[in-house]
Symmetry: C2
Subunit: 206 residues, 2 copies
Amino acid sequence: MKRRGVLFVLSSPSGAGKSTIARKLLAEDSDLKMSVSATTRAMRPGEVDGRDYHFVDLERFRAMVSNHEFLEWAHVFDHRYGTPRQQVEDILASGRDVLFDIDWQGAQQLFQIAGGDVVRVFILPPSMEELHRRLVARATDSEAVIDARMNRAAAEVSHWDGYDYVLVNDDVEHCYDCVRTILKAERLKRSRQTGLIGFIRSMLKN
Amino acid sequence: MKRRGVLFVLSSPSGAGKSTIARKLLAEDSDLKMSVSATTRAMRPGEVDGRDYHFVDLERFRAMVSNHEFLEWAHVFDHRYGTPRQQVEDILASGRDVLFDIDWQGAQQLFQIAGGDVVRVFILPPSMEELHRRLVARATDSEAVIDARMNRAAAEVSHWDGYDYVLVNDDVEHCYDCVRTILKAERLKRSRQTGLIGFIRSMLKN
């Protein structure tokens, strides 16, 4: 059955396990493709340009903004992040769904642009203490950066009610199963089954 | 996490496979309970009062209507069918979800009563020809009854756009999986997670 692609937003505070779940989802579901954001922040060790982000300088980012090349964009800390429009349109045109790794501001902007036809999933850590432990265990950030992330996490969590689904990641396998179930169900929504009208018309014709 | 129960409507033309799916769902999911309708039609061989229907006479049905004991009720062919309110309230109070085997009219009434907080799933046969074959193969109905069912089926199918999800039952196992996935995802909706507010409040308190 022909259907309209799902715009699938996965948000969470840094350290709540979103990246692990997104990676697994993309690996196991060939109908889902990642929307790779553009950013002005520096590339980190292990990151790949075009896979993790499109790394651009401030001048290029500003040009993209003025050329309306972004579906949504925002300032986070000292950097800019944006969702290139063309990429999303290409994924949808190929009959696939788009995964967005964006925050509540991005989700809100996307929701408005898409006329509400967005699925927004928020992943919570089991507790703020556990989130702090995970950030410390990662050992990639200084204490000051961890403090900033914790403040930002609390701000993110306070926007939980801007999401359609809220999951607590106290078991990553279970949380992954829930995300997968949500995506599968959303694909089955009547409003996305654009092939149904024709199917039912021919069914009732005879 | 405490949550509000799902009002889960499964509709389909007679013969599209809904009963098989509903039975399997109830057997495998102890959090789902059936709303047993009351009806004025006669009991058929193999049916059990209180399990398949609450069989009542016309006088009793009318009394239930005047006492506002039905969430919704309707005339179908020469008989009356209604959903007793108390039973639904009891299932919800026990923290479970309610499965409704009702038609599009019932689904519409329930949708209005519940302020839109209903999940409506419609199961289509693969084709009207296949539906006819299945009704003939059942060998429980006369030709005249089968004709009436086919007319009613076409009328039912024409209301497909009053449902949140529409599934084609060309493979009963796959169709069952889809129904199960929808129910699981709907349980995860933020709007039904009534325990979330408290969880997040205590999370952000410290």
